[in-house]
Subunit: 338 residues, 4 copies
């Protein structure tokens, strides 16, 4: 922690700050400049609330200088984490595509879509069984019935699966039926849920909250990793901005920033990131071009009659064409999509 | 729902849209203007995804025209809801102040603060037992032990209490010990938790999410009310903006807007809304001047040694002075603080 | 400037950074901690781009530690600046109200409104002659004709005036006719215009840009003050947030923050800050309660036929009642409105 | 315009609204639904302030239903506008790259960079002579001297040029020396400057404001086009978000959205959009993958000693490699870079 004193701070004020730092068990290094004094605090500042100093007399600014996350950062884990689920690989040279419908609606529906997306190159099948909806009156998903369908289709098509877990009490059942657990954007800071998932040993896909800073996303990953579960795939799914033409604004720049700060793989979800079918392909291409480790794409063979998010789902034919485009883009930047 | 066609939309495109509206069981009224055609859809549009129309050929814009919330809105409930907890009243002519420490630390600490705030005019005692923390390594609250202290102090001082519930499994125990349940900002869209609370008959204080629109706050209240629990107190606690001098930006204008759209009472939390002790009083005064039904204020007799949020806690003497100021402001706008 | 090295930074990397600091003529103080090294740079860092260090190998974070503004800050000017225009005072114990129509439409219109607002207690008359409009097809103001009307009414009612200047070429003529120059939110970073106004000796009311941080507002004031014109009144007029019920979100917390960082007076404009007549009074009261030095209120005797911003204009009777309320609120916090 | 009445609106209230619409010369179509009445207003609503209706009794919502921009929209101009400057083409199948230093510093500097970027495939040379700086104490550019250098280098290398114009009084001189005028983000709503540029017949590159919605960007283009200058190239250069790791957040999704709403070409500026050298290449690739018509890239052969924005400038070797990558990406989506 670095505390910058005001230019006109008195010796008394400087001493008061130094003393308070000592109270916290910190070593203090004083740098006396031509205009102002700076106090550097050395030691474990993990539990120090920097605002306690910000409000002291004579203090101009307080800078926290260590990353609050440890396990999610590159400092102690320089190499990229690679997470393998069957033959889907997240985090290597490979770009891996997850696809499927927003909601599981029936065995027929899921099987039709699963075959199409696997055929086009998807390596993981997505499908929602428990759906978080902003209205209490909207379709809330098939629940356990949906999970069973997902499991059956997974076996029949030989493709691993991902599905969202919304509450602690669903954790066991979802973990039983799927290969990757998904945490939705609205639960990114549901700390009890994150802690419980940290106790499992299932791979997790953690979506960035609608207005979360990247540091907050990494702190949410830290919650899971602090429990011993290191298999965390991060997911950029769009942030809220002033632009309202699209549902959210997919923050492509989060991809290279996360790659710099963290060793965890990051994928992009252009379906939720835009909310509009005809914007999905350009943004999926952009994500791969920017270095994403994968994509999460909603596909539906009959989107007009989908029970949720039909307007942002690609048709299987559109998905196939997109796969061709991103395959070439991956190749252009030295990566590959099997 | 109103669908505005493009100026150059073809008859075929207009018919396609009309037909799709009919498929949803909606009546269609066509308004043919000099430049473009507008289709008004009459009927239950609750489960229609408006984007399904937005992406159709020839469509320019789609406007949803009914409030998605029903129970929380003024349409079917024109009069202000008044929630009474012992002799604390939320929603009438009265302005009611909730005060206490951020975290319950010990019986002595809480009793000291409770006496001080009650003496100054607070009508409800706040105190956190389960604390949501962005770091998994930070103090997480005293838990059930804290709830017991809260109950004891409540009895001794004859003042009702409020404390946060963070997860479904805590609901029963928190409900047993406190008078008002608090839902934190990060849980505003934790839909399973909201639903469970809707099944209780305990008054709830629901905090606005960090980046939530007012409509989303009202939809979260709707989740609780849909379960039959109508005793919801809304709370403005600061939104995220680009300004980083304060922790959050307390959105004072949310107060008159909520009063217009909803019959539910709304209080303001200037402690979390600013994060800095010396900004709490001006913002508390502003909230009352703008018409808030109450305040939620953090008070600590020894904030330098508080286990959480000390820097934003008022000293008891500062709290007393603030009470005097807001009493006069309430009076200036025709309200009162007993 | 403080440069925080990564925990695993090499001696070579630390030396490279130190050397680069020396190149800029800065003294370097090295603080070697248990986990990482911090370099404090002492000297004139005004023209150093901190990103030049942020991208160096081994660097974790760079903190700029001096305010970029000098003249606008409290460091060298601890006492509040008081700006007097006839008997309107900005910055003292007084709360001063500016009122009038959005646009000057005719001599009759302005005179009617001027009499009403002066009678209710306004000390300065506002009225737009040059109007910035987002559409090139909208009413752009009466121009010089409007300025003449403003001058005439000012004399007849014996009240000083304020009007907006939008471009450098208008500066002389506006300065000739009005007492206070207004810079609109969209011109807050029109640096050439700010520089030109800095060369005049006219009081200026500078509006905060729609998405500007407070530091940026103070830097804009610095541009004016660097030219020798120290009579700057700051104005909070609403920021853009995700909430779209109101046109903008009046940031009341900016008032106490500005009072802490700067000696310049700050007023609030709840008319533009909300855009809706029935929200103006609550937000005006809130601004005064939070410590604003004044208000800027749009008033129109016939808002239904106003040529601009009628929907956010108060009627004279509403304005009178508001003046009574804010008078009592000012008194409640130890200030006064004559 | 569509006016949605409250569910409990009285006949009187509905009639009042209808009458007011008639006052504006609009035709009124009334749609009586099962729950509420909707009034559709047909006619020229360009100068109607929709808030005038929003505040009327009984009104629930008001929707403006026509695009406020005409010339910039696709309605009356379905085909893409193609702007040709020498052999640089904006808006066709071609992806066109503009490159050069942030500031012109000397003839040697500019010539060195110009040769390098032209050699790598850039089609237009950028270089700032008048620099908008947030601090009045920072380097403000070489001015006319810089323009002369730009002209000389342009001739020697046979490459057209672009440079920023910040104020009306600079317009003639900048137009004399450069081929494309640039309007910076802070001037996107400097309406007098836009109007003046509309009177010229020079191609213009118009940057999106830091917090502007896409509609506002198109309205700014409308200001220029209303004067008869239709050669407007739009530029996405990053918006302000809560993330502060990067200087701005380059909004890649603006590219497909603009392509849908407008016929004008759009380019991306990843240098300002990220502010960090090592983020420029991923974001440039993303922009091309999303369908941008071009790029604006800062390049400097000695960025450590650049007078402005060195940290975000690519080295010539990095720029060459980037050109190879974007060439392949353009090809992957059926476009080309000559």
């Amino acid at each position: 922690m670095v505390i910058v004193m005001r230019e006109n701070a008195t010796d008394q004020q400087i001493n008061d700050v130094a003393e308070k730092l000592h109270e916290y068990g910190l070593d203090v290094h004083k740098v006396v400049g031509t205009q102002r004094t700076i106090l550097g605090a050395i030691g474990d500042v993990g539990n120090v609330d920097h605002r306690a100093f910000k409000i002291m007399d004579g203090v101009f600014e307080v800078h926290r200088i260590s990353e609050p996350y440890k396990l999610a950062g590159r400092i102690f884990h320089a190499d990229d984490t690679v997470i393998q689920v069957d033959n889907a690989v997240f985090g290597g040279n490979q770009v891996t595509v997850i696809a499927g419908p927003c909601s599981i609606e029936s065995a027929e529906q899921l099987l039709t879509i699963a075959k199409a997306v696997k055929n086009a190159g998807a390596k993981v099948l997505r499908g929602g069984a428990f759906k978080p909806r902003t209205s209490p009156y909207a379709f809330q998903g098939l629940g356990v019935e949906g999970l069973k369908i997902l499991k059956d289709v997974s076996k029949e098509c030989n493709i691993p699966t991902i599905s969202e877990v919304m509450r602690e009490s669903q954790l066991d059942i979802v973990a039983e039926y799927v290969d990757i657990l998904q945490i939705g954007a609205r639960n990114m800071q549901n700390f009890p849920l994150l802690s419980e998932i940290g106790k499992t040993r299932k791979p997790v896909l953690l979506k960035r909250g609608m207005s979360a800073r990247i540091e907050e996303l990494l702190m949410a990953a830290e919650y899971i990793m602090a429990g011993g579960n290191y298999q965390v795939i991060l997911c950029e799914r769009g942030i809220r901005t002033f632009e309202n033409y699209t549902r959210n604004t997919l923050d492509i720049s989060a991809i290279p920033v996360v790659k710099k700060l963290s060793h965890l793989p990051i994928v992009a979800d252009p379906s939720h990131g835009t909310g509009l079918r005809n914007k999905v392909a350009p943004m999926a291409r952009a994500a791969v071009a920017a270095g994403a480790d994968g994509l999460l794409i909603e596909v539906h063979h009959d989107p007009d009659h989908a029970l949720s998010d039909g307007p942002q789902s690609l048709l299987p034919s559109q998905f196939s064409r997109l796969m061709e485009e991103v395959r070439m883009i991956a190749w252009a930047i030295g990566r590959k999509i099997d």
